[in-house]
């Protein structure tokens, strides 16, 4: 099926204005009659809840955390992009649009990306008004820095804790609405299923993580703001509880999954050490502003980095990409790091890392300046590695960090299931096949503060004089039973292995075979191995305890089986896409100089997969991408 993305036509810069003017509105006196469910309280979920609350809708917001402030947006480090052109260095809405389209290797929708660039400036205004303490210049104006894949300084930041400060801003706005009783907040509630009736999303099933109680909540619209699925790799930079369950269960109820194979493997993570290592820690891309990436020129050189003289080092990004040098996009940097490690130049005990060196920056700018800009990152590194990055280079290696894939949505951020909206990282929409640094925060807040409040209202306007579905309806009961059956099945399993042990195994299959570089053969093997792992899980997992009180193992096991099922879809998507683009690099498809080789004739579309049953092959639907404004060319950072 060819999908209709409902993108407006006409001049690119007028599309969003035109769309807004054509949208239906809900009058202030009627808004309280519309009930909206928001799942997740990261940047997208907190911002949309607060905004819809301010407008007067009856908002019900759910988070599985103890507090909305724990959502993983909190961990974003480097910054948020906005086309303010405060630095007078040639930035513009067009430039941010073009950089994002190109950075995503021409696999995102032009209209969406242009809208994102347009509202980016409003986001900064809003956050500043909330009291977010962004970095400033001595004159009192806002400061900027540069991120990968661009030649301007458009990134706003709050030391290495930008996500934390933006989320606390959105969280405080949300808490104000909770205080005003315009938003009802449910903490420690996990979404277990989507309730669909007459083809429309009308509610969710939740599990109260304190009591184990399963409940149906119904509404006029459901907004999923549940983040990305990077944790499918087990070792990733995302928080331990981040998961695919909300979007995966919506997929099983009919929502299409867009581009699941588009994953961002970030070049600068702290490398893996022990078997029990539970996660990867990111070292912000902003460090590449001042740090230089290198490996020893001689393969297998085991000397201490400070003893390797300048002419025996190879600064491989600077050599290969003189224009962008250390600031090439993440997919390009990661691939190059892996290539040099594969050639035997990797450093550290495992030989699976490269150096990120601050010696010159510290000499030029002084340690206090570097500390003021990046202090918390250096501190984190020191804690984890036990080495002082002020005295020797950091060791870094690529690690799964972000997903561009997610539930398919149209220009209105609505999925193919009417009434189901998907915001932030949970949707597939704006980053194509690779996301540029500092654009995730921008998208989460753009969707939540400035896009969904219009498009959701437009949908609700058609529901005037309707009541939310009764929670006694048959479909609610069926959905609750469905959740209960899964929980019972997990608790009845008779094995002796922890759910986590299966997650580790899944992660290894995916990182090796659906990771930085993919091959047809590897992907076919991955599908088979994941199917076997799923069978093994149900035979050998043990989930202790019961379902009537806090049971973290039960929560975890439910998320892990979803990851296992989902991992297969990722591999299928990667197998079907016979081209290389952005973070999806198929070894069979590279240019003569080793870069990603797209096939625009056959693959200039977003793949939106439809569920047909767990043992059935999914159906491929296509959202054709048209490039009317940005010319399709081979992406080059040389």
């Amino acid at each position: 099926m060819i999908l209709d993305p409902r993108t407006p036509s006409g001049p690119l810069e007028q599309r969003w204005t035109k769309a807004k003017e054509e949208m239906r509105l809900v009058g202030p006196i009627n808004r309280h009659k519309f009930k909206v469910i928001v799942v997740g309280t990261g940047l997208a979920g907190a911002s949309v809840s607060a905004t819809l609350g301010q407008q007067g809708y009856d908002v019900h917001t759910f988070t599985f955390h103890d507090s909305p402030r724990r959502a993983h947006s909190i961990a974003a480090q480097g910054g948020i992009n906005a086309a303010k052109n405060y630095q007078n260095d040639g930035d513009s809405t067009w430039r941010l649009f073009y950089d994002t389209i190109k950075g995503g290797d021409y696999r995102a929708r032009e209209s969406n990306v242009y809208r994102l660039a347009q509202v980016s400036a409003n986001i900064i205004d809003q956050c500043v008004a909330q009291g977010v303490p962004f970095a400033r210049e001595y004159g009192g104006t806002l400061a900027n820095r540069t991120f990968g894949g661009v030649l301007v300084s458009r990134t706003f930041y709050a030391r290495g804790q930008t996500g934390q400060q933006l989320l606390l801003g959105a969280y405080s706005s949300l808490m104000r609405e909770v205080h005003e009783k315009r938003v009802k907040l449910y903490t420690r509630y996990e979404m277990h299923d989507l309730i669909v009736k007459d083809g429309e999303a009308q509610g969710i099933v939740t599990r109260n993580l304190m009591t184990g109680e399963l409940e149906a909540h119904t509404a006029h619209a459901v907004l999923l703001c549940t983040g990305g699925y990077t944790n499918v790799y087990y070792l990733s930079t995302t928080a331990m509880a981040s998961n695919v369950s909300a979007t995966w269960r919506a997929y099983k109820r009919g929502a299409f999954f867009g581009n699941p194979c588009y994953v961002q493997i970030h070049p600068t993570c702290i490398p893996v050490s022990g078997t029990y290592q539970s996660k990867l820690t990111l070292m912000s891309e902003s460090l590449r502003n001042v740090g230089r990436v290198w490996v020893p020129r001689k393969a297998g050189d085991k000397r201490h980095p400070n003893e390797i003289p300048e002419d025996e080092r190879i600064y491989f990004l600077e050599e290969r990409y003189p224009t962008y040098s250390n600031m090439v996009p993440r997919d390009v940097a990661s691939r190059n790091c892996q290539e040099w490690c594969n050639k035997g130049h990797g450093v550290g005990i495992s030989g699976e890392s490269v150096y990120l060196d601050f010696r010159e920056a510290i000499a030029a700018e002084g340690e206090p300046t570097i500390r003021a800009k990046y202090g918390n990152l250096f501190h984190m590194y020191h804690k984890i590695m036990g080495e002082d990055p002020y005295k020797q280079p950091m060791k870094i290696y690529p690690g799964p960090h972000y997903v561009m894939g997610g539930l398919w949505v149209d220009y209105h951020l609505m999925s193919n299931v009417p009434g189901l909206f998907v915001l932030g990282e949970a949707n597939f929409s704006d980053h194509g096949a690779n996301r540029l640094g500092a654009s995730a925060l921008m998208q989460g807040l753009s969707d939540g503060y400035f896009v969904a409040p219009y498009t959701v209202a437009n949908y609700l306007a058609s529901k005037i004089n309707t009541q939310p579905l009764s929670t006694d309806d048959e479909v609610c009961k069926e959905a609750i039973d469905n959740s209960r059956n899964t929980i019972d099945r997990l608790l009845k399993s008779k094995g002796n292995q922890s759910a986590e042990s299966f997650h580790r195994r899944l992660g290894k299959i995916l990182f090796d075979k659906v990771g930085i570089t993919r091959t047809k053969e590897g992907l076919q093997e991955a599908i088979k191995e994941i199917q076997e792992l799923r069978k093994d899980f149900w035979e050998n997992v043990r989930v202790p305890g019961d379902a009537n009180y806090v049971n973290q193992e039960l929560e975890k096991a439910g998320r892990i089986i979803d990851f296992i099922e989902f991992g297969e879809l990722m591999a299928r998507d990667a197998l079907h896409r016979e081209e290389s683009c952005g973070g999806h690099f198929r070894a069979e498809h590279e240019t003569a100089d080793g870069e990603a080789k797209r096939d625009d004739e056959n693959y200039a579309y977003a793949a939106a997969w439809g569920f047909n049953g767990i043992d059935e092959e999914p159906t491929l639907n296509k959202d054709e991408l048209k490039f009317e404004f940005a010319k399709l060319t081979q992406r080059s950072y040389k």
């Binding site: 911002s47 607060a50 905004t51 301010q54 955390h65 103890d66 507090s67 909305p68 402030r69 724990r70 993983h72 909190i74 961990a75 303010k84 400036a121 205004d125 809003q126 500043v128 008004a129 009291g131 303490p133 962004f134 970095a135 400033r136 210049e137 009192g140 806002l142 709050a158 804790q161 934390q164 400060q165 606390l168 969280y171 405080s172 706005s173 808490m175 104000r176 205080h179 903490t187 304190m210 928080a239 331990m240 022990g274 029990y276 539970s278 996660k279 501190h379 984190m380 804690k383 984890i384 036990g386 503060y449 002796n496 292995q497 922890s498 043990r542 009180y549 806090v550 973290q552 193992e553």
Partner: protein
């Protein structure tokens, strides 16, 4: 290379809010010095599950010191013995082979134990709700550079804004006072020009909510700041007093 370690763990086990808890002793195998405290608990839990026993419940998420979800009293110290460190950032290499570690939940009336090492910190959210925000609806914001803020002011406000809401300050305080948390919130927002219009109501309402939640009073021991993983200075408590006095004397309530 990582070195294997033996540790004796005394861990607080408590089935639910109302049950009587007690310490259980564990000596997990396969520990290495490059594990964090939380990875040590993962390792222990894997072994408990394999033995058909109930794993230890503890809360955690980002495991990089920013989400504020984790928090364990380790040998009587909130987040353990290191300065500026959350539990997830504390590695076993910090301890000696053969050491004994005592792991307990945060202990405060306002943070009831839910299970084992997991406590309920919703009181912090309710304090935030009482006034920890700047009332600006989306659409109302002026152009970002229209209000200039001196770099020193913004940087200083940032020092308070880094609070991760973990509750270590409360756990470390002999009175279970939440003054450092509240002062960081109030301090950040009252320093920024955008937070000025509501500063009086904010401090009065947040302090009133803090008292209602059952947190203790501050007696200037400053253990809160010593335990704070973000090393928030006790000067913010001084400022809170100033803000409060000013608000109480100028505001008619």
């Amino acid at each position: 290379m990582s070195k294997s370690m033996k540790l004796t763990l005394h861990i607080w086990r408590q089935a639910n809010r109302h049950a009587k808890g007690k310490f259980e002793v564990y000596t997990p195998s396969d520990l290495t010095d490059d594990m964090s405290i939380l990875e040590m608990l993962d390792c222990l839990n894997d072994q408990l599950i394999a033995d058909g026993k109930d794993p230890v419940t503890f809360e955690h998420d980002c495991r990089e010191g920013i989400c504020g979800t984790c928090g364990i009293m380790i040998n009587g110290m909130a987040h353990g013995p290191d300065r500026g460190t959350t539990t997830c950032q504390l590695y076993l290499r910090r301890f000696k082979d053969g050491d004994t570690l005592v792991l307990e939940p945060w202990r405060a009336k306002a943070f009831p134990v839910i299970k084992d090492l997991l406590v309920d910190r919703a009181a912090f959210d309710r304090i935030q709700m009482a006034g920890g925000y700047i009332s600006v609806n989306v659409g109302n914001a002026p152009e970002a550079n229209s209000i200039l803020i001196p770099k020193e002011v913004s940087s200083e406000a940032f020092e308070a804004a880094v609070c991760i809401g973990c509750g270590a300050c409360v756990a470390a305080c002999k009175n279970a006072s939440a003054m450092l948390f509240v002062s960081a919130k109030v301090g950040h927002m009252s320093m920024m020009p955008q937070g000025r219009p509501e500063r009086h109501d904010r401090v009065l309402n947040m302090v009133a909510q803090m008292d209602e939640e059952g947190f203790g009073s501050c007696t200037n021991t400053l253990e809160c700041s010593a335990a704070c993983p973000k090393e928030i200075s006790p000067k913010w408590i001084q400022r809170l007093h100033g803000e409060y006095i000013q608000a109480a004397t100028v505001t008619r309530r």
